[in-house]
């Protein structure tokens, strides 16, 4: 039986991207957030008369799992950049693949990395905290919304890498996106109306907030009311960004290097 082209491309993407550098970015960075922020902020909260660090870690876990969607997206964007830089994009595109298949290969690899990374964070949190209570439906909700988030951020990074012509510029934008999207979201802390208005707006329009809220709702056994509009909006945004990324990429000039 012939293996579908996208599966072949995903196999290749996984093979060439499971290197220490990528794993550190994909797993190591979120894991460090989980440990350092979990214990650091947890201790501060407890010292201020709040709940125990374990309680904050329980709050943080679905947030960090959601953050995997962003990290997986950046890895997807980097794949396209590396393939362009090292000649493999043109080499693959003169092979038995369409441009769309190549793009979807990266997209699904991002999704795979997002889900796998979130699972590793879940296991890591369980080992740190000692227990985690989540229903099967709750876990499926969390992983489902992280999957959508992975496609959104994968598409966003592919769109950016399709538009930006310089590798240095792409790297700078990528770091900026990771930083802003991560910290202006509900990954680490709840949304508060005490925030300055610009930050409130940033929180509200940040797709990672939608992912984190729904994932956390899944863990808590009840989705927040805002997820009723945030999740459908996330789906619509994902479709739009995916369509834009596809359009930019399919029309782009592919050069032999």
């Amino acid at each position: 039986m012939a293996v579908p082209s996208i599966v072949k491309l995903m196999y290749r993407n996984v093979k060439v991207n499971v290197d220490p550098g990528t794993l550190i970015i994909l797993i190591g960075l979120p894991a460090m957030y989980l440990v350092f922020f979990g214990f650091g902020f947890g201790a501060q909260i407890e010292a201020a008369g709040g709940a125990s660090p374990a309680s904050y870690l329980t709050f943080l876990t679905p947030g960090i799992m959601s953050f995997q969607a962003v990290m997986a997206g950046t890895v997807g964007g980097s794949m396209l950049w590396a393939d362009r830089r090292w000649g493999m994009l043109a080499q693959i595109l003169v092979g038995p693949f369409t441009r769309l298949q190549y793009l979807l290969g990266i997209m699904f690899t991002s999704l795979l990395f997002g889900i796998a990374g979130a699972f590793v964070m879940l296991v890591g949190a369980f080992l740190i905290i000692g227990s985690l209570h989540v229903t099967l439906l709750g876990a499926m909700t969390a992983f489902g919304v992280i999957a959508i988030g992975s496609i959104f951020f994968g598409s966003l990074m592919l769109l950016i890498s399709g538009l930006v012509k310089s590798n240095n510029a792409y790297n700078s934008i990528q770091i900026l996106v990771i930083f802003v999207v991560n910290f202006a979201s509900t990954v680490f802390y709840s949304f508060s109306s005490a925030l300055p208005l610009p930050l409130q707006v940033l929180f509200e329009i940040n797709p990672l907030t939608y992912v984190a809220n729904a994932a956390r709702g899944g863990f808590e056994g009840a989705l927040p009311a805002a997820s009723a509009w945030q999740v459908p909006l996330l789906v619509i945004e994902t479709i739009v960004v995916l369509a834009l990324a596809t359009r930019v990429y399919v029309r782009s000039e592919i050069s032999f290097v």
């Binding site: 012939a2 293996v3 072949k8 491309l9 196999y11 290749r12 093979k15 060439v16 991207n17 290197d19 590396a82 090292w86 000649g87 493999m88 043109a90 080499q91 693959i92 595109l93 003169v94 092979g95 038995p96 693949f97 369409t98 000039e253 592919i254 032999f256 290097v257």
Partner: protein
């Protein structure tokens, strides 16, 4: 459009990147099955753009193009399943040499048993045994080139496009590669081959097209081109002493119908009558009192064809179009 036995048919093919200047400017040619077809040209002549069009990487602005009887505008993927391409630049995955072969085999859907067997054969044939566990990016330029060419042979194909495949290879490996390409054409493979190296085009190509500024300036078998463009023979002259500038100046004046080019003590004379010219040069050297170090009539080479058709300015642009 395609005639019998024609595996590539190109008719009045044009391509422009900016809407103003044509990188391909009305090319018409065909390539027959089992042929090694060479594309000769300076940097920026349009060779790589042509390869990109032939391998479906770009859609030409206008003109007819059929590959394997198929239209690249509609049958791109079908064409790509039947061609192999070795790019001019590096193209590697972050993996070992073996890993690059394996990944490529998987991408091309080569069954595992065939993949492993071919990998071993190619690693041996291209002398890569010592570096098989090394990362492809860590290899020397010549080794990388060998990996790239060998890797392309992991899968079956009808047409192989080689964009300057011998860059960085030593003389022996270059010759072995060209012989290997020649051998594969006996089994039905068709090869389109771009090069700057006129000697290797002369050695391996059945026909060549000289391309410049997106146009074909000359196209025929190597021998016919040499005859056509090199109807004149070349007399080589090198002096060991005396007034070289004055002597070559006198040759220019006295040798009617000959083209005399000189550089210091050396010169070449393009002539229809090499024996007569040789005699005149000897007589004039004795009369002028210059000492002759070397005097020779040589066969025309593809280089003469190239210089005749493109113009031997020696100036080349950097980068490819």
């Amino acid at each position: 459009m395609a005639g019998q036995g024609e595996i590539i048919a190109v008719e009045n093919l044009k391509h422009t990147y900016d809407g103003k200047q044509y990188a391909l400017d009305g090319l018409t040619f065909s390539v027959r099955k089992g042929e090694i077809f060479g594309l000769l040209g300076k940097n920026g002549a349009g060779k790589t753009t042509l390869i990109k069009a032939l391998t479906t990487l770009i859609k030409p602005t206008s003109g007819g193009l059929r590959i394997l009887g198929l239209d690249p505008r509609h049958d791109g993927k079908e064409i790509r399943t039947r061609i192999g391409v070795v790019q001019q630049g590096e193209s590697f995955d972050f993996a070992t040499v073996e890993g690059n072969f394996d990944i490529y085999g998987v991408l091309w859907g080569v069954p595992k048993s065939v993949r492993l067997q071919r990998r071993e054969e190619l690693i041996k044939a291209f002398g890569l045994q010592d570096v098989r566990k090394h990362r492809a990016f860590d290899l020397s330029g010549g080794q990388k080139r060998r990996v790239q060419v060998a890797r392309e042979l992991m899968h079956d194909m009808d047409i192989l496009f080689l964009d300057e495949p011998t860059t960085g290879l030593d003389v022996i490996m270059r010759r072995e590669l060209l012989d290997s390409v020649r051998e594969r054409t006996r089994q039905g493979l068709t090869v389109v081959f771009t090069t700057h190296n006129l000697e290797e085009a002369d050695y391996v190509c059945d026909r060549v097209a000289v391309v410049d500024q997106g146009k074909i300036l000359a196209m025929d078998t190597v021998e016919n081109l040499k005859r056509l463009y090199g109807g004149k023979k070349t007399v080589e002259v090198t002096l060991s002493g005396g007034d070289a500038a004055g002597f070559f100046g006198a040759l220019r004046e006295k040798l009617a119908g000959c083209d005399v080019k000189s550089d210091g003590n050396s010169g070449v004379i393009l002539t229809d009558d090499p024996k007569g010219t040789l005699q005149r040069v000897l007589e004039m050297s004795q009369a002028a009192g210059v000492q002759m170090d070397w005097l020779n009539i040589r066969k025309n080479t593809l280089e003469d064809v190239f210089i005749s058709s493109v113009g031997g300015t020696g100036r080349e642009n950097n980068g490819s179009t």
